[in-house]
């Protein structure tokens, strides 16, 4: 058998830690190119027409890496869920084979036992090694999420425009180029120091907007046309609860049970994916006195489309500004920008009116 060269789908800033995860296990990795319009077009050509958007982006990502010689694809699915993510692995495998690519698929269920046995199979690493690697993975994951949260706060307040984003990009590439895990604490300190040097206006009271919706589109700035950055530039503080560690915690702490209790008057059951979470988050933001909520979803995403009428009802009940953006390969950035601009005006007016 050929030596496996692993590739995977791009996912925002998390991409770099997936890369090092495999590297540390001694598996050869070929990370995909950053998601770009070309990759999306190529992916959309292969994918079934009515399939949801993330699949099209994923396929585009794989193609760029396959061209360079990758032969094994790593894909995480949710085997317990009710939505289409469950079939991502099988369908992608089928499509790539039909397109004439000889690639293997490693499909991960979101279960610890399954992940362990599959990693063991491809890398041959010992349990201790695997645990260590996952500890490193989680450490970096938390740090990246902390960085993202800090930038959400700093972006609208910074005195030198664009500095925060520059430092974020630098930090991510520093984490990417980390040669030895032992250096991580040092690098982390350095990055935090750089961040603390950013001058910002502390006492500014800004309108706050919550981002809710499907995890992939919410967390990947390329796919959502950098919504966070654009809002930040307009002087809006962005909040987002949905991220990878939220998802991991949900699995461990039975968070679904508590979420269901909170949203009972609006929805009596799961609808798959993160449908319930969207309602729960919107309720939370509305009660916390936020000035707006943006709902991001891949076009025709089953769970998110199902709950959207409920979100709209919340929007009417609490009178909180609400914008829902469906994303797919046909959406143009200019269109999204126009809608965002209009939304920003609404949010600012709402915020100003609330103060008086």
């Amino acid at each position: 058998m050929e030596k496996p060269i692993v590739t995977f789908a791009n996912w925002g800033n998390y991409t770099v830690i997936f890369k090092t995860l495999f590297k540390e296990l001694g598996v050869e990795v070929l990370p995909p190119e950053k998601t770009n319009p070309n990759a999306i077009t190529e992916g959309a050509k292969l994918a079934p027409e009515m399939f949801c958007f993330p699949m099209k982006v994923n396929l585009g990502n794989y193609l760029s890496a396959i061209e360079k010689g990758a032969n094994t694809i790593f894909m995480a699915t949710a085997s317990g869920g009710s939505c289409r993510l469950r079939y991502y692995g099988v369908i992608q495998d089928k499509i790539l084979k039909e397109a004439g690519h000889k690639t293997d698929f490693i499909v991960f269920d979101q279960a610890i036992g399954d992940i362990y046995s599959k990693i063991k199979e491809i890398s041959g690493a010992s349990l201790y090694q695997i645990l260590k690697v996952f500890y490193h993975f989680y450490r970096k994951l938390r740090f990246i999420e902390e960085l993202e949260r800090r930038t959400q706060y700093l972006r609208p307040r910074e005195t030198e425009k664009g500095l925060t984003d520059k430092i974020l990009a630098e930090s991510i590439s520093k984490i990417d180029n980390l040669k030895n895990e032992k250096e991580f604490p040092k690098v982390k300190k350095k990055i935090l120091k750089r961040l603390s040097e950013i001058k910002f206006n502390k006492n500014k009271e800004l309108p706050r907007v919550g981002l809710i919706g499907e995890i992939y589109t919410v967390c990947d700035p390329v796919v959502n046309f950098e919504v966070e950055k654009k809002l930040g530039k307009e002087g809006i503080e962005v909040h987002r609860e949905m991220d990878l560690s939220y998802q991991l915690k949900k699995k461990i702490f039975f968070k679904d049970f508590f979420i269901q209790r909170k949203i009972k008057p609006y929805l009596g059951s799961t609808v798959g994916g993160h449908g319930r979470d969207a309602i729960y988050e919107m309720l939370k933001y509305a009660k916390d006195g936020f000035d707006g909520v943006i709902h991001l979803l891949p076009a025709m995403c089953m769970p998110e489309v199902t709950v959207r009428p409920i979100l709209e009802k919340l929007h009417q009940e609490y009178q909180i500004p609400f914008l829902s953006l469906s994303l797919d390969e046909q959406v143009a950035e200019a269109g999204i920008d126009t809608r965002l601009e209009a939304f920003v005006d609404v949010v600012k007016n709402y915020h100003a009116r609330k103060k008086t």
């Binding site: 399939f51 009710s82 289409r84 499509i95």
Partner: protein, 296 residues
């Protein structure tokens, strides 16, 4: 008391069952009329743009019933007796209906992973002040009615599968096949063109439960059912297959890949049609005619 049932989507999963059940309990039933243009227009106007066509039709029926009855019955179907899930869009129907209509909604969750169907029915009966005994009787009555219908269908199928005309299997969900207006009377059209249209849900369940390693294990009841029935129908001589999908149906995007592959492997011509509120009759007819021409 009058109970309204929308004649769309989940109704077609078990036609006759709910009517006979409630009628046996002594309630008056109001079925929404067969799908028509106004119903579709109402549904399209009042539902989320990106929702699937079948859901839009359902909401149209729901709005038609609004104000015409005391209760509207919308079960929350989650899993069937094989513990396989229904489409996730069914899970939220009662909640979405509450937003759309003013009439009170009668609902009960049917999740056989947690509770037997009969037990859930008893709970439903209690909501209507009926004792367990009465519900049980009504349940048995509804089941026997359903069985009668099923037997008639199977007899009909065995007769038609021997037909000398070109036999074409129509694959879709029951709510697309049994609703004439939604599928643009595809059966009538095919028959006029001299073919025999066989619906996938008419094919008797003959227990083809051999696990197929080539297929993923479907967690959707219709996924498993359709694939099994295709296996069953392939035993007969079939000339062509047509799959009909509602626009924006997420489940069909997955299923289609496997259905198409199956027929291609067996060298049976396959046509894929998508229906929605904009589907034009002329274009639909042309595609059917062209497909039948390729069979000759």
């Amino acid at each position: 008391m009058k109970i309204g049932i929308p004649r769309a989507l989940i109704y077609w999963k078990r036609p006759s069952f709910w009517e006979s059940f409630f009628e046996n309990l002594g309630f008056e039933i109001l079925l929404s009329p067969k799908t028509n243009k106004e119903i579709i227009e109402m549904g399209v106007k009042n539902s989320d743009q990106e929702n699937c066509f079948s859901n839009k039709v359902y909401f149209g029926h729901l709005i038609w019933l609004d104000g015409k009855c005391d209760l509207i019955f919308i079960p929350r179907l989650k899993t069937n007796e094989e513990k396989l899930e229904y489409c996730p869009k069914f899970f939220a129907l009662p909640d979405l209906a509450k937003i759309l209509v003013k009439t009170k909604i009668l609902t009960e969750t049917f999740d056989e992973r947690k509770e037997k169907f009969g037990k859930s029915l008893e709970k439903l009966g209690k909501k209507l002040d009926k004792r367990g005994k009465e519900t049980k009787k009504a349940f048995a009555f509804a089941l026997s009615k359903e069985r009668e219908l099923r037997e008639k269908q199977e007899k009909n199928f065995l007769k038609r599968i021997k037909s000398k005309n070109e036999k074409i299997v129509l694959i879709s969900h029951p709510y697309n096949l049994d609703d004439e207006y939604v599928n643009l009377r595809v059966k009538e059209r095919l028959e006029k063109l001299g073919a025999e249209a066989i619906f996938i849900n008419e094919i008797p369940n003959s227990g083809f439960q051999i696990p197929n390693p080539k297929l993923p294990k479907f967690h959707w009841e219709f996924g498993k059912e359709i694939m099994e029935k295709i296996e069953a129908v392939l035993k007969y001589k079939i000339d062509g297959a047509i799959e009909i999908s509602s626009f924006a149906c997420g489940c069909d995007a997955v299923l289609k890949e496997f259905i198409e592959k199956k027929f291609k492997e067996n060298k049976i011509p396959f046509l894929y049609l998508i229906i929605d509120e904009h589907t034009g009759e002329a274009g639909f007819q042309t595609r059917l005619e062209a497909f039948l021409d390729t069979l000759k």
